[in-house]
């Protein structure tokens, strides 16, 4: 077993790193796109209860749909490959991001908002100098949850031809090669765990002065 894993790395290192790269590119593209959607949405949600309610119920529905189902639902509309995978991953990442963004902005004390305005900040300065820095630990927490979800679900994206570490696992399943399944599975776990630790470290750094 161990020998066949070593053997795989000796002969197929290029293939392996390609899979890792595909996995990461897919995951981080999905994260960035979902951030671009979720941050403004969360900001509006923190100001307007109606938008917040809509976001909440939308996220409840999304939590019920399994990741794999979401991937397959999209096939008739956008086909297979990277695009539907990306769309599915973005949809999966939105709930934790939006919910935590709303939470983060709501956690900024009203007094501090009032003081910031009284000192002569406009709304943009209030957002960038006070609200964003103070809600950063919450935003990072949302990013952490989203990223874990994305990295895990990106494995499934191999089913619809988006490549990545899921390819290794699928090939392993098809050929009954336990070594490939192990390599793929453990790599996904390491990526997931590593991103969690990194962001936890960032959260501690961001929250240090509060």
């Amino acid at each position: 077993m161990l020998q066949s894993i070593i053997h795989y790395f000796q002969n197929n290192a290029n293939e392996y790193w390609l899979a890792v790269r595909q996995h990461l590119v897919l995951s981080f593209s999905a994260l960035i796109i979902s951030l671009i959607i979720a941050l403004p949405l969360g900001y509006l949600g923190s100001k307007n209860q109606k938008i917040a309610d809509i976001c909440q119920s939308f996220t409840q529905v999304l939590r019920i749909i399994p990741s794999l189902a979401l991937l397959f639902i999209l096939i008739p509309y956008v086909g297979t490959g990277t695009l539907p995978s990306l769309i599915a991953l973005v949809i999966l990442a939105l709930p934790p991001l939006v919910v935590n963004t709303i939470l983060g902005f709501n956690e900024v004390p009203t007094d501090l908002n009032e003081v910031a305005l009284s000192l002569g900040m406009n709304n943009w300065q209030l957002l960038t100098k006070v609200q964003l820095p103070l809600s950063l630990p919450y935003l990072l927490n949302g990013i952490k949850l989203a990223l874990i979800e994305i990295i895990a679900s990106a494995t499934l994206a191999a089913y619809i031809g988006a490549g990545g570490l899921g390819d290794l696992i699928m090939t392993g399943l098809g050929l009954y090669r336990i070594d490939l399944i192990m390599i793929g599975g453990i790599s996904v776990a390491i990526l997931s765990f590593g991103s969690m630790l990194t962001i936890d470290w960032l959260i501690r750094k961001a929250a240090r002065n509060e």
């Binding site: 009032e114 003081v115 305005l117 009284s118 000192l119 002569g120 900040m121 006070v130 509060e210």
Partner: protein
């Protein structure tokens, strides 16, 4: 004669159907130290927030330093009014120096001028200069509120608003800060202080004139001496009685 700094003309404020302020008229002169005394719900904080436009009046006209609040550019305008609150409201993610420098930075001062001003202000509020690089959480409540006062003074505004700034501090520190604030007002030339409190001793000690508010109306607006000698309404009388009640307790315990 001194010019008027704050002028309220027939000002009313409603939250929904509740009328918090009804037909308020008063005038504060440049350089005065005004204390506003009232219970919670008397409308004193709402009145203060209308002075810097955090709350907008439902009716009437407010004039501050010659500008009509409704028409003026609020953002630019606020940079020239100091604001100190009960919760202190220092930004936890900024150092003391950065907290003090918020308004000067917004006004586009250069670095050297800002540094110089921060040093000057720390001296003025009796804080050591090496506090500059500390964060608010590393300071005691009294020290934090000194920074709050320094921040309010940062852009050298002609008018400072205080919203119960000392009521969350313990009594020894509160008294020390009261003395120093009174000194500060004397030292700074021609600055108007508008100070809201629910502590009758604080109001009588600090104010050149004391505005007593109750249910959104002014009961009496007079010097501390006149207030004590000639209380004009039942409410003012009752208020003064409570203070004297305390005095009796002291005498009895001696």
């Amino acid at each position: 004669m001194n010019k008027a700094m704050i002028k309220f003309k027939n000002v009313s404020k409603k939250f929904g159907k509740n009328e918090i302020i009804s037909n308020l008229n008063f005038e504060v002169k440049e350089g005065e130290f005004i204390t506003v005394l009232g219970a919670s719900g008397s409308g004193k904080t709402t009145t203060l927030k209308m002075i810097n436009g955090l709350e907008k009046p439902t009716a009437g006209d407010i004039n501050v330093a010659g500008y009509s609040i409704q028409k003026g550019k609020l953002i630019e305008f606020r940079r020239h009014i100091g604001y100190v609150v009960q919760s202190i409201g220092l930004f936890p993610h900024m150092t003391i120096a950065q907290n003090i420098a918020v308004t000067p930075k917004l006004l586009g001062w250069d670095k050297e001028k800002i540094n110089h001003r921060v040093d000057e202000l720390l001296d003025l509020v009796n804080l050591p200069r090496d506090f500059k690089d500390r964060y608010p959480a590393q300071l005691s409540g009294g020290q934090q509120q000194r920074v709050g006062v320094a921040r309010a003074l940062s852009a050298n505004p002609p008018l400072l608003l205080f919203d119960e700034p000392f009521s969350a501090l313990d009594s020894l520190i509160r008294q020390e800060l009261q003395h120093q604030l009174k000194d500060l007002h004397r030292k700074l030339d021609n600055k108007t202080f508008y100070f809201v409190t629910h502590d009758i001793n604080e109001a009588l000690y600090l104010g050149d004139r004391v505005m007593v508010m109750n249910h959104g109306k002014i009961e009496q607006f007079d010097t501390p001496q006149n207030l004590v000698k000639h209380p004009q309404t039942e409410y003012v009388k009752q208020l003064l009685d409570t203070a004297q009640e305390n005095q009796k307790l002291w005498e009895a315990l001696k």
